[in-house]
């Protein structure tokens, strides 16, 4: 494949890291993806279900172009891509250099288990004497010190938790492959100086550190003695007491640092002097320990320091850009002031614990059982805003995700219960239900209709009811009635917090933090930081759900890509050795079968001779060999030798974990000239697990039979494989962007900056879209100046052909080759050929007739008010009362979605009015205030400035009446539920928040083969995992034609869409996958059913030649066409009928 010389570092392999890495890799850059935990997937490895599907779906992020460069299996299990080098348990140590040319040093945490030797037999776990809480199950279960961090990843070598390990050596003794090398000789030479005036402290530390840690310990009883000791003996770490007679710890620290600036020092302090310890860290102390010591925490801390110091830094890399995608952490209720008795009542759990509780890989295998006593759960309560919107936990922000995950958890739990035939009561206690994302409101409404109870109020306390043996919640409903509800389980919907280590990482990279500790991004950007070439992706920069994380990861990839491109990183390195495979199509099949014997489950009861005999009864089988440990380096070498010796033209490997072999098979293919498509790995281990167990149920198929059948089926499949050359499609390396608003301009600039030509089409005579009537953002950024700047960059860009006053009148085509006809205002038509299409057609403020709009000049929309405030036609000092009404015609059918921007716009306007006229009375009627994320702080500010917020419900809306001359007198009446009385006011101004409607004409969507959703927004391929793609590859959307968004978010979607388009534009020909649909033309009757059946729009009728054509780059090999075709004309390469019949025969034989 064609790679580019540019390289990027992605820090953090959660979904945003994966998305950013894949985007960069698919464009052709080399990516190093590092992750500090021992597995990829981040938080998502612990979450099994996502709304709105209530399923997973992560695999939808897998590459769609040049599919075979990456793995094609469950992304939760693992990720393989030719251009991505994944380094687990690795952190960034240091960075030097400048954008486009960074030199980074990584630090890899050593693992005493050699991954290349570990066969995952698990014997070590059986003998390990150490039991600790298992973080994968959020502490609900336990694990050993040697363990699998995540049960489902591949490859999945065991790891040793060095902090918990006692180095007893039991695992090392039982390991059959000598994969474990435990003894750490270095610790004996690691000299720790303990300085404390109390003998007992010195002695116990010495004992702990020597016996449990294996370190060498010296002691000093005063500051003077310690300094003397440092001069005479080499010390690697000093543990230093703060409160000592004579010279105190801080003074010793200062002096020691003068003598030995690099000496790591850990302060020891009583709780009362913690502040001194924190101060000491500012003058060079590395950390502090609080007395009395908790040995469970002390030893691991020292071991961790030891490991950091003793692990040699490396490897070093040169990269053009760095993407920070370290995710977030979650609020720990135990940090609060007895938050709902979390920690003391076992049936009060966090949302993450609940996800584990109902997971199939969780503590109860997915059954809903109470943690306290294992009784089935019948009633669950979710408490929202735990650690969010809470000043007491320093969180004047909304965490964005909790409302939706609580609803999802309630739905999944109900589905679970329904399947088990039980009743489950689910209640969500909330203040504002923030359903501001695309499709969220309808999801909420569906859930409510299906029985999830939404209770508006904040629960005050959770207490055990000992008689009823359950929990009681005390809360006040909106009418002021105090209620006590009884439930079996309480789930705390915990909010987001900056990822652990954010501060250290951003300090290393030289990036500032916002007031809540998340990386600060540049104005109008959610990804760019103050340092060019260092960008933030996903929730690392704060408070994101999956679809936003994925979008912003793509946007971050774009920013990184731009830096790399500018530094010359896009120059193609064409001549990566193209593998040359022998043509075996005319040879009779000669299959080499190897059977791995490392698993007892396989070898027990398998008669090697009988198996060989059976397989060789098929003349296609040339040889059958038995190999030990195929996945280990040694085993693989043996296999390669066998292939070289016998020169088969098909290879069948019976082993386990087929995914692991993708890369190895490619390398082998290149080495011996055999197409990897003629090789197959079949998992013969997993299917026989049950048979191998002693308690296998009666009638379980013996492993010998299973193994034989699986291999025979694979032989049958391989025998008929005759790989055709991989198809490619040509690419017009330029793009059409429809819509010249901020999204369209951003996308056009992003692509043009990569050197590709862009045709930007705008139906109006001027660029700018909605930005033309906006003046300032809520955080005070100057929108007009920003628009002016963007316009100038677009109009002056040599790679952008601007078509103002122009529309797309016709278009057709597919990924790589689109043909569009543009027509300008004068009727002149021009044709543009392009490889990718970006729709950025935007939207506008919805029109309304509600609340007396049109009957009085005093009743205006938000857009009217924005204009009046800007041009000065409205003088706020002349106003006495302003009423604002949110959700006008929104969040109810037929426009049942949240427009996302109106609440913050009202806050912005209210603040502006209040600033100009502090005595102005402003009343905002709202349903749920959608001040998500950091916008919440503006909501708080608004309340503080005296603005009144009155909630209303659909059955009790406010009313507006205009009378007097020209409707000059406007009366607004509503109902204040807290006081329980009607309110009425004469308003000088009524502002209606009518929301956003899209402008995506049906004909335009049809022309490019994409769908619109029920509200006429662009229908993305998948709302979570492919938020800016159409299902049809090659068409993307951004801005508010996709979903309502603010400026920053629209820009992020535009950058994401541009990045997605670049994957296609980056090469002259687009290679397809190997498994694609084809047609037997002689059998085809041109009924076109397959064209309708194809979900990816990859099939079309070629009327000139009267045949159906498949765009192989768009085809994803799903087989819908083959199933639909009445004549067997449509088929999938490698899955034709004869072959499948053979496989079925082999299975039944």
């Amino acid at each position: 494949m064609q790679t580019k010389i540019g390289k990027a570092l992605v820090i953090g392999a959660g979904i945003s890291g994966i998305r950013a890495a894949l985007d960069l890799a698919e464009f052709g850059y080399g990516v190093t993806l590092i992750e500090r935990s021992p597995h990829i997937g981040g938080i998502l490895s612990q979450l099994d279900y996502q709304f709105p599907t209530d399923r997973c779906g992560m695999c939808k992020m897998l590459p769609l172009v040049e599919r075979d460069a990456g793995s094609q299996f469950c992304l939760r299990k693992g990720l393989f891509h030719d251009n991505i080098d994944i380094k687990l348990s690795t952190e960034l140590a240091s960075v030097e250099g400048e954008p486009g040319d960074f030199k980074v040093t990584l630090r890899q945490e050593p693992n005493p288990v050699d991954a290349a030797r570990c066969i995952g037999c698990g014997k070590c776990v059986d003998v390990c004497p150490v039991t600790v809480a298992d973080e994968f199950n959020a502490g609900l279960t336990t694990r050993k010190a040697i363990y699998l961090p995540v049960p489902h990843t591949i490859p999945n070598p065991y790891r040793i938790d060095t902090a918990a390990c006692t180095q007893c050596g039991a695992c090392q003794e039982v390991c059959p492959t000598e994969a474990i090398r435990l003894v750490d000789e270095g610790r004996k030479d690691f000299n720790i100086l303990v300085v404390d005036d109390e003998l007992i402290v010195r002695d116990s530390l010495k004992e702990w550190l020597e016996e449990e840690g294996g370190f060498h310990v010296s002691m000093a009883e005063s500051g003077q003695e310690a300094l003397q000791h440092l001069k005479t003996e080499t010390c690697h770490l000093m543990l230093l007491d703060i409160k000592m007679p004579g010279m105190d710890g801080v003074e010793v620290l200062e002096k020691a640092k003068e003598l030995f600036p690099d000496l790591p020092v850990v302060m020891m302090t009583a709780y009362a002097t913690v502040e001194t310890a924190v101060e000491a860290m500012k003058i060079g102390a590395r950390d502090y320990l609080i007395k009395p010591f908790d040995t469970d925490a002390l030893i691991p801390k020292v071991i961790q320091i030891y490991q950091t110091l003793s692990t040699p830094p490396g490897p070093e890399l040169e990269v053009g850009a760095i993407v920070m995608s370290g995710g977030t952490s979650y609020y720990n209720p135990a940090d609060g002031k007895d938050t709902y008795s979390y920690g003391s009542l076992p049936d009060v759990v966090t949302s993450l614990e609940f996800e584990r509780l109902f997971s199939g890989t969780g503590p109860n295998g997915g059954q809903l059982l109470r943690p306290s006593d294992g009784r089935p759960i019948r009633r669950i309560a979710w408490l929202q805003c735990v650690g969010s919107r809470d000043m007491q936990s320093n969180a004047d922000f909304c965490s964005n995700i909790c409302c939706m995950y609580a609803i999802k958890e309630a739905n999944v739990a109900r589905e679970r219960a329904a399947r088990a035939g039980t009743e489950l009561e689910t209640s969500i206690y909330y203040m504002d239900m923030r359903t501001f994302g695309k499709s969220f409101q309808r999801y909420r409404d569906r859930s409510e209709a299906s029985g999830v109870a939404f209770k508006r109020g904040r629960v005050h306390s959770v207490e055990p009811d000992l008689q009823a043996n359950d929990l009681q919640l005390r809360w006040a409903d909106i009418d002021g009635n105090v209620a006590v509800d009884h439930v079996d389980l309480v789930v705390l919907s915990v909010g987001q917090r900056p990822a652990e280590g954010t501060q250290a990482l951003t300090e290393t990279l030289g990036i500032g933090l916002n007031p809540w500790g998340f990386p600060q991004t540049e104005p109008f950007s959610l990804t760019r930081t103050e340092r060019d070439g260092i960008v933030a992706a996903g929730s690392f920069a704060g408070l994101k759900d999956i679809s936003e994380s994925v979008t912003q990861a793509s946007a971050a990839a774009l920013a990184a890509s731009t830096t790399i491109h500018n530094a010359g990183g896009s120059i193609g390195l064409k001549d990566q050795p193209e593998a040359i495979y022998a043509d075996v199509s005319r040879e009779t099949p000669r299959i080499l079968v190897t059977v791995c014997t490392c698993s007892e489950a396989v070898t027990q009861g398998v008669d090697q001779k009988a198996l060989t005999h059976h397989l060789k009864s098929d003349p296609a089988v040339d040889r059958v060999e038995f190999l030990d440990g195929t996945c280990t380096a040694e085993g693989w070498d043996k296999l390669v030798a066998l292939v070289k010796q016998h020169r088969p033209n098909r290879l069948l490997i019976g082993a386990c974990l087929p995914y692991v072999y993708a890369r190895k098979l490619k390398a082998l293919g290149t080495e011996v000239g055999l197409d990897p498509r003629l090789m197959e790995v079949v998992d013969i281990r997993t299917p026989v697990f049950q048979a191998a167990r002693e308690d296998a149920p009666e009638g379980t198929e013996p492993s010998a039979v299973t193994v034989q059948r699986l291999l025979a089926m694979a032989v049958a499949r391989l025998r008929r494989i005759s790989p055709a050359p991989v198809a490619t499609v040509p690419v017009f390396q330029q793009t059409l962007v429809v819509g010249g608003g901020i999204a369209g301009m951003t996308a056009a600039l992003a692509i043009a900056d990569h050197g590709f030509t862009v045709d930007l089409v705008e139906k109006d005579k001027a660029l700018g879209g909605n930005l033309q009537w906006l003046s300032k953002t809520i955080d005070g950024q100057d929108i007009r100046a920003f628009l002016e700047d963007t316009r100038n960059r677009v109009t002056g860009h040599p790679q952008i052909n601007l078509h103002l006053d122009t529309r797309v009148i016709a278009a057709f085509g597919q990924a790589g080759t689109f043909y569009s006809t543009l027509e300008d205002g004068d009727g002149n038509a021009v044709q543009v050929n392009h490889g990718a299409t970006i729709l950025a057609t935007g939207g506008h403020e919805a029109a309304t007739t509600a609340y007396g709009f049109g009957t009085s000049p005093r009743i205006v929309t938000q857009q009217n008010l924005e204009a009046q405030l800007h041009d000065g036609t409205l003088d706020p000092t002349q106003l006495h009362t302003v009423a604002m009404i949110q959700c006008v015609d929104s969040r109810e059918e037929p426009r049942n979605y949240c427009s996302r921007v109106c609440c913050s716009t009202s806050l912005k306007h209210a603040q502006a009015l209040k600033a100009a006229n502090p005595s102005l009375r402003i009343v905002v009627f709202y349903r749920d205030m959608m001040s998500y994320g950091f916008m919440e702080s503006y909501f708080t500010e608004a309340r503080k400035s005296g603005i009144t917020f009155i909630p209303y419900t659909l059955d009790r809306r406010p009313a507006v009446a205009a009378d007097g001359t020209d409707g000059d007198r406007v009366t607004v009446s509503g109902y204040e539920p807290i006081i329980g009385q009607p309110v009425e006011m004469t308003a000088d101004l009524v502002v209606l928040a009518t929301g956003i409607v899209p402008e995506l004409p049906g004909e335009l969507a049809d022309a490019y083969g994409v769908a619109r959703d029920e509200d006429n927004f662009f229908q993305e391929a998948e709302s979570k995992w492919r938020p800016v793609d159409a299902l049809k590859e090659g068409v993307f959307a951004c801005g508010i034609c996709q979903a309502p968004r603010n400026i920053h978010e629209s820009i992020a979607t535009a950058e994401a869409a541009a990045e997605r388009a670049l994957r296609i534009l980056g090469r002259e020909r687009l290679p397809s996958g190997t498994i694609v649909a084809r047609i037997h033309e002689s059998l085809c009757s041109l009924c076109e059913r397959c064209v309708e059946a194809c979900p990816y729009g990859a099939r079309s009728l070629d009327p000139e030649n009267e045949r159906i054509v498949v765009n192989p780059a768009m085809c994803q090999g799903c087989g819908a066409c083959a199933a639909t075709c009445p004549n067997n004309a449509a088929y999938i390469e490698g899955f034709d009928a004869e072959q499948l019949m053979d496989v079925i025969d082999a299975a039944l034989n």
Binding site: G480, R943, G980
Partner: protein, 195 residues
């Protein structure tokens, strides 16, 4: 919904004007009406307005209704609402401010509670500690000056309390710590005047 009498409210003739509430409003402006205070209040069952309802009225400047309510006099300063408030608002303090406003304006409706608090503090000021007998006698004097023998109705209860050690026979001449407490009270008075 709590029914609030909208007319014939006795004793609100000299109710503080909306401006009097300004300082209290400033303290609780960022209230989001979540209701945690109401659910947390142990005396909520006896209140005519729930705490949230009261705070909403304070924010709306509805002095008439506020000073027709007994809610704030029933606050026992347990601080649970302050502890639990997600906005971290000083609600107990605000309750106290309302009590003070009522006392300052000598609203007849709050005569009993004002007198109760007043005599309590006076006793403490005089003796450096609470003296139940003196305090309650003075309270009765204020409340029912025309029936000096009325308190005798409580004799049997007083005896019971005495037996349980809840009531003490006090030496009216001993006044430990009077000096030091007087200074504190004077200081507070001067601070309150300044405020």
């Amino acid at each position: 919904m709590t029914a609030v009498a909208t007319q014939n409210r006795p004793g609100t003739e000299s109710a503080p004007g909306p401006d009097a509430l300004k300082a209290i409003q400033d303290k609780i402006k960022s209230c989001i009406q979540c209701g945690t205070c109401t659910a947390s209040c142990p005396n909520e069952f006896a209140m005519d307005l729930t705490p949230r309802h009261l705070w909403r009225m304070v924010l709306m400047g509805d002095t008439e209704d506020i000073f027709a309510s007994q809610t704030f006099t029933l606050c026992s300063a347990c601080y649970t609402c302050s502890l639990r408030c997600p906005r971290g608002l000083p609600l107990t303090e605000a309750m106290h401010d309302l009590k003070q406003l009522a006392a300052k304006h000598k609203l007849p409706r709050y005569k009993a509670s004002t007198a109760f608090y007043g005599h309590f503090m006076d006793t403490v000021r005089r003796h450096g500690r609470i003296r139940e007998t003196e305090f309650i006698s003075r309270y009765f004097m204020t409340m029912t000056p025309s029936k000096p023998l009325m308190p005798l109705k409580y004799t049997s209860m007083g005896l019971k309390l005495l037996r349980k050690g809840k009531l003490h026979i006090e030496n009216p001449f001993a006044a430990p710590g009077k000096q030091s407490l007087e200074a504190i009270f004077q200081k507070v008075e001067s601070m309150e005047e300044r405020a």
